[in-house]
Symmetry: C2
Subunit: 248 residues, 2 copies
Amino acid sequence: MRAAVRGGRWTTTTHGLARGYVQASVAILPEKYAFDFLRFCQRNPKPCPLLEVTDPGDPEARMAAPGSDLPGHRLYRDGAFSEEVRSIHNLWCDDHVGVVLGCSLSFDEVLVEAGVRQCHLEQAGGRLAVYRTSIECVPAGVFHGPLVVAMRPIRKRDVVRAVELSARYPIAHGAPVHISDPREIGMENPAKVDWGRYPAPAEDEAPVYWACGVIPQATAMASGVPEMITHSAGHMFVTDPHLSTMAH
Amino acid sequence: MRAAVRGGRWTTTTHGLARGYVQASVAILPEKYAFDFLRFCQRNPKPCPLLEVTDPGDPEARMAAPGSDLPGHRLYRDGAFSEEVRSIHNLWCDDHVGVVLGCSLSFDEVLVEAGVRQCHLEQAGGRLAVYRTSIECVPAGVFHGPLVVAMRPIRKRDVVRAVELSARYPIAHGAPVHISDPREIGMENPAKVDWGRYPAPAEDEAPVYWACGVIPQATAMASGVPEMITHSAGHMFVTDPHLSTMAH
């Protein structure tokens, strides 16, 4: 899988690949901002579960995903989206630090295997509804911004099980941050998403909100750092650790 | 409790105080080394469970322990112990960062309440046997050094329960790193401790080894950083979070 990405033979999303292994997003930024960003992650572990931090100038996630590239990146400059790029070889600098954050892609499998149905995975693209909430992340240095959540419609009879199961995997954002009424966390109209697509909960489903890995992009924009490179949506690292080895 | 420390009316160890609340050690170092040290903690979560990182120049652990001072500090210079000091007001610099790490003091209560006897707590001083092991911590920047462990003699019939219980509290070093034969992790003669005092396990007890919070001192010495201020042994922050709120 990694060789295919590095060799340019896999250039699309990693959803459903290498099932069971932790998938991870990345935020690459100049060392000057890395300490602020690490404090931001430490203060906001649900949206930003730290899996690895590379040494300055080292372009490889040596511990979690050696030999790995991302199949797609997004480049932000001065707080604005600049461009989508496949390779960052010509953008990498000696003072770059890569912050690798666990994501929910592998965890989705755990829910499904436990019989917790996730309708959005059965539909084209598997996209979730993603919102900026009225909850502020704890700021650190230049980094600040709203907590971003992803909503999964979960059958009401499965909600407790979904909380129990996700709580075991802090590396994949852990337990939900909110259940049910979206207005309590600042979304007046749940059909109006900030990213993704709205899968309206059915009669027997409740909306359940988990912290979302789009937070690096959101903070890059909010903080206006001169440069940040992130993964493209769904274009993740497939890492060495199996999710089960990181369960609590 | 905090007011008593800040007012200079409590100047000794915090063992047994404010039972149930997370107690924490601290490593204060110049911002220049803080990003290296944070990566070190991220890579070695068992010995270095991050509870809070202060903004550069801010002498207060605002999130975990506002209004708090330590009742005692140790000062290291160029990798060597320099002196024990009660107050660090005259040592604090604008570029200092405080890294607050969870410790095992509060967790000891959990074991005792669950009926897991800890003989060393019943003896004067409650001191443990602390060893440098042959296991190397994952290095980061200037920081490196051996994993340091604390040994508790645990009744053999309680060992599984002790593992289960401690695994729930990663903020207090989590599950043990080793059980039984000390030679497997580099200690030929367990009576020869590096710190503390050796409580020889009785016939019905096994030695169980947990990662130990003396690691900031050990890395300060191994790395030779020009300056690091740590807590004095047993002189901890008493923090706001109750241990139960940080359980997994």
